[in-house]
């Protein structure tokens, strides 16, 4: 279970407060969506969950399975099951996709006390999981994300997620830059990972992603706080009314 308690966050080295007291609980097995206007702090929340250093938590706590993760390094969090699918996946020239996936997979397996995968075992798993996301293994021989289209990058993120088998998946604007076909493939990949052991937090500006990844709860984030919480129908209401109610113009 993810428990975010009274979370206050500012940008390190600056005074700007971005998150001003977030309270949120995501039980295992549930998918929660966070919607909100631009600049509301959605991506900040995603980064803070993953442990990015550019932010400073000034108050509150984040508990994952009852344990505070705030003092943990990003790689320790990953080993504990936290995974952030980036809004803008990074290109890593010179590192082949397979090398990257294998290094990451075995790093978290080792930390979790699982046996590291041998090359044949790894290849078998990666082929199977990449296939489901329409990713050609040949593409993974190329440097990570270099020269990939927006859709390819997002599929590559979901493949990483599938390989690392996280228990808390945070998806930051996973729909941005995707056409409808790519959106379907990515959503199917995410839905395949839904399980009673996994909690998911889906961050999005638009409702359309939630047609494919249907959430159990929807939270509206604006001005650094959760302004409203409801069921999946809340997303449809927002689609109609925009974020005006929360003092912002719809984009």
């Amino acid at each position: 279970m993810l428990e975010i308690k009274n979370l206050h966050v500012k940008i390190a080295d600056e005074d700007t407060q971005i998150l001003k007291g977030i309270d949120l609980v995501v039980p295992k097995g549930e998918v929660h969506a966070i919607m909100g206007p631009n600049g509301s702090g959605k991506s900040t929340l995603a980064y803070v969950l993953a442990g990015r250093e550019d932010y400073e938590v000034t108050d509150g706590d984040i508990l994952w399975n009852g344990e505070s993760i705030l003092e943990m390094e990003p790689d320790e969090r990953a080993a504990k099951g936290v995974f952030l699918a980036f809004q803008y996946p990074m290109e890593i020239p010179g590192v082949a996709g397979l090398t990257f996936l294998r290094t990451a997979t075995n790093a978290v397996r080792k930390k979790r006390g699982q046996a590291e995968l041998t090359t044949p075992e790894f290849m078998k798993v990666v082929k199977e999981r990449a296939g489901k996301l329409n990713i050609d293994v040949e593409m993974l021989k190329r440097p990570v994300n270099v020269g990939f289209s927006g859709g390819e990058k997002k599929r590559s993120e979901i493949l990483q997620m599938a390989m690392l088998e996280p228990t808390l998946c945070v998806l930051d604007e996973t729909d941005s830059g995707l056409d409808i076909d790519a959106l379907k493939v990515v959503s199917e990949g995410v839905n395949a990972l839904r399980s009673p052991d996994r909690a998911m937090l889906v961050i999005t500006h638009y409702q359309r992603l939630l047609d494919h990844i249907v959430p159990d709860r929807v939270h509206v984030l604006a001005h650094g706080k959760i302004q409203k919480t409801g069921g999946k129908e809340l997303a449809l209401e927002l689609e109609k009314s925009g974020y005006a109610e929360f003092g912002e113009k719809a984009a």
Binding site: A78, I92, A104, V108
Partner: protein
């Protein structure tokens, strides 16, 4: 350079030491005459210093304090097993090898049978057979440099490779220079490579040391390269020594029409390395890809100085150099590209990048384009930056611990340059070599 200055201890040592050893250096009377002329020139010019533009960032006169005793007819006993150890990951490659120990050719350690159809002969063998001074020849402009003059005066040995017209040699020919024994010496070698019309070869010059060798030494290596029409050469130099040596390298390359030259310099573990190269496009439509990776830590200093001279139309040049600088190491890149009036349709691109792993590291990059033709595409760029923190976060968010993430990013940075090496075994061995270096830095 004709400013009257006090001669340094090293300059005096090299100049005065010459007379004592000239009779023991290989070659007949006309070779001896060439050596005398060269040492005279060296005596006049001295070691290059920072007031000489091409040596602005590498003040050799100041750094090279002593003239170590010249290595002549060295007979330090070593075994093939020692050579294999010295070669590290490269030792696994079963290739034709010519081995020079402290600057002298060793037949018993060499194996050139696999280089069938190609002539691979030691310079000392040619000189003993009465070859004249022409085997020493480099273009006058190259010979004029005082470092090359010093090499001409003292060169004891080297390798002369001739790939006949139309011959393709798949196996890379290794010219292995190893330092051995407990005496710090100055070793000078001179190589010549000719690749005939439409011929193709790979030549790898390696500089390393066998276990137990003194960490100190000075080496000067000059290689003259001629590619005939349509000739292709992959020319690689690997310096992987112990840290305190002074390594002075000079390649002088001439490309005939449609020749295709691929050069790569890997430099790690040299106290001071100067990799100087001149590539002259003497025929139209020739191509050169000149790349390299350099790794330096503590106070090491690696200098890459290139002169690419497009004299005729349709030439293509690509340069990519990547360096990893740790502690207070210093990297220097000077890349001069001349496009002469006749060299229309020249396509030249240059990039030099340094990864700064410490606040105290320094990278001096000086691209120079001199373009006299109007229909050309030329570009250059240079960067020096620390590890990308966004990328580090990305890797760590995927569970990769900090040190491993750093290592992966450094490898990827260097890997982009090493990828320029086309021979897969060689490329893999170099990548492994770089990883070993990086682990040494992590420790």
């Amino acid at each position: 350079m004709n400013v009257a200055v006090m001669k340094t201890k090293a300059e005096t040592g090299f100049t005065e030491g010459f007379e004592r050893v000239v009779d023991t250096l290989p070659g007949g009377p006309n070779v001896a005459a060439l050596r005398r002329e060269a040492i005279g020139q060296f005596a006049a010019d001295g070691l290059p210093h920072r007031r000489v533009e091409e040596w602005k960032y590498t003040d050799l006169r100041n750094v090279m304090k002593d003239a170590l005793p010249p290595a002549i007819g060295d007979a330090t006993r070593i075994t093939i097993a020692d050579v294999i150890v010295a070669l590290g990951p490269l030792g696994r490659m079963e290739v034709p090898r010519v081995v020079l120990v402290n600057g002298s050719y060793r037949k018993e350690l060499s194996n050139t049978e696999a280089a069938a159809g190609v002539s691979v002969v030691a310079l000392s063998t040619l000189l003993a057979g009465g070859a004249d001074a022409k085997v020493f020849g480099v273009e006058a402009e190259c010979a004029r440099q005082s470092v090359v003059a010093l090499n001409t005066a003292y060169a004891t040995d080297g390798v002369v490779v001739d790939v006949p017209d139309g011959v393709t040699l798949e196996a890379p020919v290794f010219i292995v220079h190893v330092r051995a024994g407990g005496v710090a010496q100055f070793a000078a070698s001179r190589n010549r490579v000719r690749v005939g019309k439409g011929a193709r070869a790979t030549i790898v010059e390696v500089f390393a040391h066998v276990p137990g060798a003194t960490p100190d030494g000075q080496q000067s290596a000059v290689t003259a390269v001629d590619l005939d029409e349509g000739g292709q050469l992959a020319h690689i130099k690997i310096v992987n020594d112990a840290g305190r040596i002074t390594h002075l390298s000079n390649w002088d390359v001439t490309l005939a029409k449609s020749a295709d030259y691929r050069a790569f310099h890997y430099t790690a573990g040299a106290g001071l390395a100067r990799n100087q190269m001149r590539v002259v496009y003497a025929g139209a439509n020739a191509k050169a890809d000149i790349s390299g990776a350099f790794l330096a830590r503590v106070g090491e200093h690696v200098d890459t100085t290139l002169l690419v001279d497009h004299a005729l139309p349709g030439g293509v040049s690509r340069e990519l150099f990547k360096g990893v600088l740790q502690d207070h190491a210093r990297g220097v890149f000077q890349g001069k590209v001349i496009v002469r009036p006749d060299a229309q349709k020249t396509d030249g691109k240059q990039m030099a990048q340094a990864l700064m792993l410490s606040e105290d590291a320094e990278f001096d990059s000086k691209p120079e384009l001199e373009i006299y033709a109007d229909d050309v595409v030329c570009g250059h760029g240079s960067t020096s930056a620390a590890l990308d923190t966004d990328l580090l976060f990305y890797l760590r968010a995927r569970g990769i611990p900090l040190e491993a993430a750093r290592a992966l990013l450094i490898q990827s940075f260097v890997g982009e340059a090493i990828d320029k090496v086309e021979n897969p075994s060689l490329r893999d061995a170099l990548m492994e070599q770089a990883q070993i270096w990086l682990l040494g830095h992590e420790a």
